[in-house]
């Protein structure tokens, strides 16, 4: 009804109805209290020759005007407690009997990594599907997740699911959800996790059961393996740089403003992500689709690293960077690359 975003989880209706129960209870109480309060202020303004009445409020005939409303407050409190308990027990109190899919969610600075079982339905086997930034799940399925954190606290928050759970390093927190509608939903990090907290975004894509089965059969891809054509980033690079060089000054400002420097640096040291120092034109070993290969860091490579950072990950680094599609425009990417050429 406008205030809360559409709910797509099986248990979200509990939360939404709690919202309305509490709103009605406290709304009515609030209006009565404020109403009496304002009425008194208007009615009992100082008038000449009229003294206030001496009411100390220390006998029952007077205190009952406060204590009876208080008793009503207590009764309503317990009503809210009971409703809360029902909802809480279903969402967090335990796991459903039928656990159709088990997944692992890992929070890390600054992305969510997801591990799904492959065709064998088991986690921690060779055919696990690992994705950073995108969670694919089937709709109408009880999904049990193990939530972990690599470095600091994070909080896995999907508003459309009405679900939030902190991820704590050193602990595995188990929870569950069931998506009722296929679609694409935003996933946030709700606990401050450092300078890149803002960009810690991922997307939950809920497929129909059949679509999801197909997706798993394809090894975690929307299209069957081997269907890819020419490198789209080589074309993009050609088109972008056909009109001349970018603006390195703007690029320098952009890497700061977009919080790239949270993970990358200019001094050659090893932090969350690889350094920018001497990056352009260097040879590097990357892991792509489970295979190591050598590539040269040219414009096309950098564009891919910005828009599909999970495709080729520099060896020795985690696949932690969230894809920047929609965050960095092509013109901005061009300026950034121009700037990176200057970092020697």
């Amino acid at each position: 009804m406008g205030f809360l975003p559409p709910n797509v989880s099986s248990f979200g209706h509990h939360i939404d109805s709690l919202f309305w129960i509490i709103t009605i209870i406290v709304g009515v109480a609030f209006i009565i209290a404020e109403g009496i309060f304002l009425y008194f202020i208007i009615k009992y303004r100082k008038k000449d020759g009229v003294k206030a009445e001496y009411v100390a409020g220390n006998v029952w005939s007077q205190t009952k005007w406060v204590l009876i409303p208080l008793a009503i407050v207590i009764a309503l409190d317990f009503f809210v407690d009971i409703k809360t308990h029902t909802a809480w027990s279903e969402i967090k109190g335990g796991l459903p009997q039928n656990q159709d899919l088990k997944i692992r969610i890992t929070g890390q600075q600054f992305s969510w990594a997801y591990t799904l079982p492959g065709a064998d339905g088991q986690l921690d086997t060779d055919d696990d599907i690992k994705k950073t930034g995108e969670l694919h799940v089937p709709a109408d399925t009880n999904i049990v997740f193990d939530l972990e954190a690599k470095d600091v606290l994070h909080s896995w928050f999907v508003p459309a699911l009405r679900l939030k759970q902190d991820a704590v390093p050193g602990r595995t927190i188990r929870g569950w959800f069931k998506v009722t509608q296929p679609g694409s939903y935003e996933v946030m990090c709700a606990e401050i996790c450092g300078v890149g907290h803002t960009i810690m975004k991922s997307t939950m894509i809920a497929h129909s059961k059949e679509e999801f089965a197909q997706w798993v059969a394809n090894g975690g891809s929307d299209t069957a393996p081997g269907a890819g054509g020419a490198d789209p980033f080589a074309d993009m690079a050609k088109n972008l740089f056909a009109s001349g060089a970018g603006d390195a000054e703007k690029g320098k400002a952009l890497v700061t403003a977009k919080a790239c420097m949270a993970c990358h640096n200019l001094d050659g040291s090893k932090t969350v992500g690889p350094t920018y120092k001497g990056l352009f034109g260097s040879k590097r070993t990357v892991t792509a689709g489970g295979q190591d290969k050598e590539v040269v860091a040219d414009e096309a490579y950098l564009l891919r690293s910005i828009y599909e950072p999970g495709a080729e990950v520099v060896k020795g680094y985690p696949p932690a960077m969230p894809p920047q599609k929609g965050l960095v425009s092509e013109q901005e990417a061009k300026d950034i690359i121009e700037y990176l050429k200057t970092v020697k």
Binding site: L18, V26, A33, A52, E53, V66, D77, L327
Partner: protein, 562 residues
Amino acid sequence: MSTNQTSHHQMTFVQKYIFSTDHKVIGMQYMITGLIMAFLGGFLAYGFRMQLAFPGEAIPLLGKMTAGQYNEFITMHGTIMIFWVAMPVLLAALGNLLIPIMIGADDMAFPTLNMISYWVFFLSTVVLIASFFVPGGAFAGGWTAYPPLSANGYTAHGWSVGLGGNLWIIAVALEFVAFLIGGINFIVTTFNMRAPGLTWFRLPMMVWMMLSAVLIFMFAVGPLIAGAAMLLLDRTVGTGFYNPAAGGDPILFQHMFWFFGHPEVYVILLPTIGVLAEVMTTFARKPIFGYKMIIYATIGAGFLSFVVWAHHQFIAGIDPRMATFFSITTIMISIPFSLIIFASIATLWKSSITLSTPMLFALGFIGEFLIGGVTGIYLGSSAFDIYVHDTYFVIAHFHYALIPTVFFGGLAAIYFWFPKFIGRMYNETLGKVHFWLTTISFNLVFFPLFFSGMAGEHRRIFDYSMWKSLMTPEIMNIRIISTLALIVLFLSQFIFVFNMIKSALSGPKAEKNPWKSNTLEWQADSPPPHGNFAQTPVVHRGPYEYSVPGRSEDYWPQTSAN
């Protein structure tokens, strides 16, 4: 301030105003430091609100903001507003100014200790401000300082690593020490130095509330001091108290923080309840409704406040069964505070109200705090909290609890006792303009944020551009309205500053008892000399004997024999 009437020897300027042992001067020092810090905290809010309303634009006076600066700003805003504004203004300043004079004493029990308390606090302020200027900048891990982030994620340690954060811990610890030292005086003075006849149930509510607040503070703060020391060791020496890789537990810090953090809310709230009682009875010309009832409710709330802390951690990974317990205790805390608010409203029944500036702020507190109170029910419900935890709903809620408490309560107190401690009257018209501008802009800043929170807007985000669901025109408008209103709110406070300075210099002289009030401070000169009273006052009755039937006057000072 004149000290001629006292027998004290002539003091130099430094003895009188800088290293003074007079409780009134120390109170003013706390007050002025706190108010200056309030402007700093407000300015930080201006910075990050501008970034949210106009992401990526250069901010007037600050320039373009980075994500790192944003985190520093929000962290320091929270830290300053709680520890360097709310605590010094409401607890230290009002307590020091009022406790001795309200109980008829000449000063605190240990004046030198009192002075030391302020200067330790001052030192903590210096350390905190210095932390803005060290390499790496101020602390940026959120004011709650949850490890492992606040321990540099356990990637590096040493004194110089994240110096801003180390200084932040030291500043907060020093500040706690300052208030613990100050607390000695609050307790001992109230216990031992009350004027003859001033029994416990003749004490003004203000004194009761200060006493409860400082006791709650002392019992709550210990574990956090230990916790902060452990965090500092983790950051500097490399211990692993909160490091899961070394067998530590990051959640432990959350428990220690909120074991203090929740009672802390009442440490701030209780002095304001005290202000409310003094101001309302005076301007409604009526006894407080249910004096003893309110005191018992306060004591009850004090105990209850120690068993609600985990409601800040419903989704932190604690045992789900614990959540039910804490949800029930949290919702139960509405009982004592409903009682206090109901009793305040009942006080207005058949009263005779004058809407002076302090009364407006006191009534404003009730009206606005109700919003903070009822929205607390949403958050106390553990299940609904799953959704709104760490969203702007929480931000709106606690600002509706804290701004009425700290600003409305604090301002009511400042206007109310200004004639007493400065000796001149403030300008009533400017005061009313200040009240209305503050109230309207405050509501425009925070009420819309409930709706962005319900839409799922999560906290501590520097730029929402990448979140499609949070970039709708409605939510963007909320950000802009809230930010513009904040600027109005901030600028309105300069009316207050102007009024205070102008009135202190050239306002009309205040008489002893301009509000025709009952409590002891109004029997001393305005401003009271060093030593407060010419003779020890003798107390004959309770503090709120207004409009007693059969008397021609509608007030009855505690000191008058008949």
